[in-house]
């Protein structure tokens, strides 16, 4: 299924799908779509289709995993076998274990874990269809799911990837750009406080490009934050209005 690399990823300032360098792909977020989970969210970003669910805070079992003074946050990022071109064998691999860790560390800063000693909060992120940027889109969905579950938060977390293609710094890499581009930098941000809670990078950035990339990331995060708030409003406003 390996496709050939296109000659250029950027033609006349337009990307393969017609976007400008600083443009997000089409974004859609929906809160609260699962019945059993305490909180849930669904996100589509370009061709990414991702489901996030939250259980807890609830008592941690088995007990020896409890922390006496704080709740434990557990995250599991997982790809469906059918989410990528070549079927992925079910179960965790090294990539998904690392991603689960950085996602957890991206969400921890906004949670008041000290409010729930001995408890656990579980965050599950399922990639149903993958098109680059799944970890950051997963964070975006997970923080909506946490809010939907009623878990108190300092701020939301919004994630986006920035990168470099054909020498230009661009926002929100799609699959082809991720595959053939020169750099990829996933970023997660607390949108109100402007704090960076996830930062990874591979490829080649000059210091100047690094700064540009951060600028773009902050710009993208603002739009994502709006979509997050919209999704929560969409779910809760009707019931709030009913309540009047």
């Amino acid at each position: 299924m390996a496709e050939a690399k296109p000659e250029k990823l950027l033609v006349d300032g337009r990307r393969l799908d017609g976007r400008r360098p600083d443009e997000l792909r089409p974004l859609r977020i929906k809160a609260g779509i699962l019945k059993r989970a305490d909180g849930s969210a669904y996100i589509e970003l370009g061709k990414n289709k991702i489901l996030a669910a939250v259980y807890g805070p609830k008592e941690m079992h088995p007990r020896h995993l409890q922390q006496a003074d704080v709740a434990v946050l557990r995250c599991r990022y997982n790809m469906a076998p059918f989410s990528v071109e070549e079927r992925k064998r079910p179960g965790p691999d090294r990539r998904s274990m690392e991603i689960s860790k950085v996602i957890r560390e991206a969400l921890e800063p906004v949670l008041f874990l000290h409010l729930y000693p001995r408890a656990v909060i579980d965050v599950f992120i399922e990639i149903l269809q993958a098109d680059a940027g799944t970890r950051t889109a997963g964070i975006t969905a997970a923080s909506v799911a946490l809010a939907d579950a009623g878990v108190p938060m300092r701020d939301l977390v919004a994630g986006i990837s920035v990168g470099k293609v054909d020498g230009t710094v661009v926002l929100d890499l799609m699959k082809e750009e991720d595959q053939w581009g020169e750099a990829d930098m996933p970023v997660a941000v607390m949108p109100r406080r402007k704090c960076i809670t996830l930062l990874q990078m591979d490829g080649n950035f000059t210091p100047q490009e690094f700064r540009q990339a951060l600028d773009l990331a902050f710009k993208g995060v603002e739009q994502i934050y709006e979509a997050q708030k919209e999704a929560l409003k969409e779910k809760y406003l009707p019931s709030l209005e009913e309540g009047r």
Partner: protein, 253 residues
């Protein structure tokens, strides 16, 4: 797959059942609202999202070239895998498939395989060397009861959603399908039989029987589950429910 539910709730469900009633007002032989959405996953060759009430099951079908089994050198390969995702229920835990996930996958596998709905002989590319492998991945997203029926429905719908020209190396005119098996699971509450149990009904029942039928009413697979038992005549009744409800479900495929 059993969850603890309050005994007072159980008693209430049993009382209702004794009067031929159910907690959500359905008849004993009535399914919840059935929704089948096809083509939901672009990276799969075929896919479907099935909802039975709040239960949600997604299935993706992938076609890949592989080696045939030595004892069936001219036959394609069918692999069914089920994941009880931890996001679907507080009782599902991460990790390799447990006995419930394995049973679910194997009952779906038997239903598909024994119905001969896929003409596996046509999926041979080169005898003894290369055949098409059909991977059916069942992804349980929200568990509100009756996963078997939802999974069979989603698997059959996803198979019928397969658009073969999209697969590299594919030469057949179409994906070779020839039947529409449907599974109907009957549970027994204090002797009362009902179909499409919701989660609480499922957890109150002590036994279930899944009967997969074909268009002509023949049976291609069965599976008893749970620590209870059936009387001979209850099996007759279960078959009647399976035939009747199966016909209804098949119309939606």
């Amino acid at each position: 797959m059993k969850e603890l539910i309050a005994s007072v709730k159980k008693e209430y469900l049993v009382d209702l059942a004794m009067q031929g009633k159910r907690v959500d007002g359905r008849a004993l032989d009535q399914y919840r609202e059935v929704s089948i959405e096809r083509g939901v996953i672009g990276t799969a060759q075929g896919s479907a999202l099935v909802k039975l009430g709040n239960t949600q099951v997604m299935v993706g079908v992938k076609l890949e070239k592989g080696e045939p089994f030595p004892d069936t050198p001219t036959s394609g390969i069918l692999v069914v895998n089920a994941e009880l995702l931890p996001l679907a229920s507080p009782t599902f835990e991460p990790g390799p498939p447990n006995e419930n996930a394995i049973e679910l996958a194997r009952v779906v596998d038997r239903t598909i395989r024994e119905s001969q709905m896929i003409d596996l002989e046509k999926l041979c590319i080169k005898e003894g060397e290369e055949v098409w492998a059909v991977f059916i991945d069942i992804y349980v997203l929200d568990h509100d009861g009756n996963l078997i029926d939802a999974s069979v429905l989603a698997s059959v719908a996803a198979l019928y959603d397969v658009k073969p020209p999209a697969v590299e190396g594919w030469t057949l005119p179409e994906f070779p399908l020839r039947a529409k098996p449907v599974a109907v699971t009957v549970v027994k509450l204090n002797g009362v039989m009902m179909v499409d149990a919701g989660l609480e009904e499922e957890n109150t029942a002590d036994v279930r029987l899944t009967i997969s039928t074909l268009e002509n009413g023949n049976i291609c697979a069965m599976q008893k589950g749970g620590s209870g038992f059936f009387q001979r005549e209850e099996l007759e009744k279960a078959y009647e429910l399976a035939r009747k409800c199966g016909e209804e479900l098949r119309k939606k495929l």
